[in-house]
């Protein structure tokens, strides 16, 4: 078991012929992901990386039965691509594009809400179920199958956590990078609920950062309400000055909102263990799971 993606997931790639799109699609195929189609308006009828390319997502779905989408298109077109995916009835859309205008995302997110589609991202590393399927940027060699679920905003910290856990012998179920933008699809709250319902996941690592209040909301709405799996949380940007955007569009402390301390406090109150370093994440995960349950 796992969440969101597995061996059976059939992926359509929007932007498959681009330089980045090609590179990451190849990596995904090498990982074992079933890439069944590509979509590039105007290139329908061609083939790329052995996958048939279609003009529209709707066509790709009806011809190949794709049920997940990897969206790697430039910012001006990304929100539209997300809506196209949702309109085509795809269950999971993963958008890695960084720099989508916020107003575009407000509309795309509202549109997605009217459909059953789940959106991950944008500006995210994507999702990976260890040994089965990955959609996005997570490096192929870091993950190994096991029992820890990961949900994180930042890409590189997701990789660091996966790698640290793997090296210490703690494998993973699914890692979900939800992204660093202010307007996102799935938030910590929704992903934690999915992990709660996944019997294979025995513990969860949560990697948050300054900005917004998604971490606080997840602590109050999910963890405090009797989440029966141990949670280890790590918050980056603890020393970031207020009012400065720290790389991610969403990583900014504005007024009294978004400070690391408020997140740490909410998570602590909800029973999560707080880690100060990646090494701490690994150590606390081991402690909370118990040595045998972990491996």
């Amino acid at each position: 078991m796992s969440i969101l993606v597995d061996k059976a997931t059939r992926v359509v790639v929007q932007g498959i012929t681009g330089r980045e799109g090609s590179f990451h699609t190849e990596q995904m195929i090498a990982y074992g992901t079933r890439v069944v189609a590509g979509v590039v308006p105007g290139k329908g009828g061609t083939t790329h990386l052995d996958a048939p390319v279609f003009d529209t997502v709707a066509e790709a779905v009806s011809e190949t039965g794709a049920d997940a989408a990897f969206i790697i298109v430039p910012p001006p077109f990304a929100a539209d691509a997300i809506m196209e995916t949702a309109a085509a009835g795809i269950a999971l859309a993963v958008c890695v594009t960084e720099g989508i205008p916020v107003h575009d995302m407000v509309r795309a997110r509202a549109f997605v809400e009217t459909t059953p589609t789940r959106l991950i991202g944008p500006n995210c590393p994507g999702v990976l179920t260890a040994g089965e399927c990955k959609i996005g940027f997570i490096p192929n060699h870091v993950a190994r199958p096991g029992r820890v679920g990961i949900v994180a905003r930042s890409g590189t910290l997701t990789y660091e956590v996966i790698q640290g856990l793997s090296q210490a012998g703690f494998g993973q179920t699914t890692a979900v990078g939800i992204g660093g933008d202010p307007v996102l699809g799935l938030s910590f709250t929704e992903v934690l609920r999915l992990f709660a319902g996944d019997p294979a996941t025995a513990a969860v690592v949560m990697v948050g950062e300054i900005g917004g209040s998604d971490e606080e909301n997840a602590a109050e709405q999910v963890l405090a309400g009797g989440f029966d799996k141990p949670v280890v949380a790590f918050i980056s940007g603890r020393t970031a000055p207020p009012g400065k955007r720290m790389g991610h569009a969403g990583a900014i402390i504005s007024g009294n909102k978004g400070s690391a301390q408020s997140k740490v406090d909410a998570l602590t109150a909800a029973g999560a263990s707080i880690a100060d370093t990646i090494e701490d994440v690994v150590r606390l995960t081991g402690e909370r799971m118990g040595a045998t349950a972990a491996r």
Binding site: P101, V106, A110, S154, T239, G247, H248
Partner: protein
């Protein structure tokens, strides 16, 4: 991208929102002429307001209310010589004073929790709205319009009636005020949408003695991700922001970093910090601080670690003379550690860097990479915590104090 008050007001006016009659002045003489012209039209008091892209200018003495053109000249002279929290005052906006009956608030901003824009209205205008929201939440009314159809008249009426009932002194003719608020809110919403505004605010929104709604101030911040849709505005802004001395008030290091295409935030400390990935760099700063050091910057070089990018980043970080040493934190992923090491060594040699460098990196062939670094006199580290400890130690020695 933050617009100045007068630029925000011009955007409002273009979309039908009433603003006080005003003139921009870049010198004391221009301010005097502006006041004379405005007084001839209105015969009232004139506000002389510093144009800087930050709040709190009133408290800093950047706003004066004057009775005569002569006084306008003197006050403009004083204000134009000011530096408000690092921003030199380049111009003043002179405008006619209003006969104020009530001060209201109307603003549109992003509500991150709801993933929507929120329209905020309050009868408690002229104050810091975040403070009002905290201390008197009952005086704030909010509306989250459907992004595909925008705020409808009935929704705005509900909002406005609710908020005006909470007013300490409800204005006379509430129905008429609400009617004006409906069109004003739709005009402001259109401004926010057309300009990709992250914040679009009128505070105070003045209800005049004659019963008109006038934007007495204007705040407008455009989403950086959408700047490509507003190049004309960005150019206008850039022209206005930089004076004859080339100073804009923005941090000069951050201006240079933007020119170089780097994601950089300038900080106060003496340890340069570079890494790939925003979360990773934030954590790098946290680790330096945990070890007792002070970061000089946040610099995210993005995915991978190409040699030319590392070189550009090192050059940028070391342009700050406060920097005594640099911590480079690279998650390699599929990047090869030996390649990253060669890139860093090459950059160090080409830039003739003699300050301590500590590099923590992972990736394939990372051990070989660390060996190369060590041979070249750069300090390698296996863990980020160890690297943070080392750079703090090395820069303490170099600087004589921590």
């Amino acid at each position: 991208m933050k617009l100045l008050e007068y630029q925000a007001k011009q955007q409002f006016a273009r979309r039908g929102i009433a603003i006080p009659a005003g003139r921009l002045a870049r010198s004391a003489a221009e301010a005097e002429a502006a006041a004379r012209e405005l007084q001839r039209h209105a015969g009232t008091r004139i506000a002389v307001k510093a144009q800087v892209p930050i709040g709190g200018r009133g408290k800093a003495g950047g706003i004066a209310v004057v009775e005569s053109p002569d006084q306008a000249r003197r006050e403009a002279e004083r204000i134009l010589a000011m530096d408000i929290r690092g921003y030199p005052v380049r111009s003043v906006w002179c405008e006619t004073g209003l006969e104020i009956a009530n001060e209201l608030y109307l603003g549109i901003t992003l509500d991150r929790d709801r993933r929507r824009l929120v329209v905020i209205f309050s009868a408690a205008g002229g104050m810091d709205i975040e403070q009002v929201a905290e201390t008197q939440p009952e005086r704030i009314a909010k509306l989250w319009p459907d992004p595909f159809r925008g705020p409808q008249a009935f929704e705005i009426r509900e909002l406005a009636f609710a908020a005006l009932r909470q007013a300490t002194a409800p204005p006379d003719g509430t129905a008429r005020v609400v009617g004006s608020l409906v069109s004003l809110t739709q005009q402001l919403y259109r401004t926010a949408i057309e300009l990709d505004a992250m914040t679009c605010e009128i505070n105070p929104l003045v209800l005049t003695a004659a019963g008109d709604l006038v934007a007495a101030d204007g705040k407008l911040e455009v989403d950086e991700n959408a700047e490509w849709r507003h190049r004309d505005l960005a150019e206008e802004l850039a022209r206005d922001a930089v004076g004859d001395d080339g100073r804009s008030g923005d941090d000069p290091f951050e201006v240079e970093a933007r020119r170089r295409g780097l994601t950089y935030v300038h900080l106060d400390g003496h340890i340069g910090c570079i890494g790939n990935g925003a979360g990773l760099v934030m954590n790098t700063l946290d680790l330096v601080k945990q070890q007792g050091g002070d970061p000089a910057d946040f610099l995210d070089i993005g995915g991978g670690a190409r040699a030319d990018v590392v070189r550009n980043a090192l050059d940028m970080v070391l342009s700050d003379p406060k920097v005594r040493g640099v911590f480079i934190n690279i998650f390699g992923g599929i990047t090869r550690g030996d390649e990253v090491a060669r890139g860093i060594i090459q950059a160090r040699d080409e830039l003739h860097i003699d300050k301590p460098l500590v590099v923590r990196m992972t990736g394939t062939r990372e051990e070989e990479g660390r060996r190369l670094l060590e041979e070249a006199g750069i300090v390698p580290a296996v863990s980020a915590v160890e690297a943070a400890r080392k750079i703090v130690e090395l820069t303490r020695d170099a600087g004589g104090r921590g």
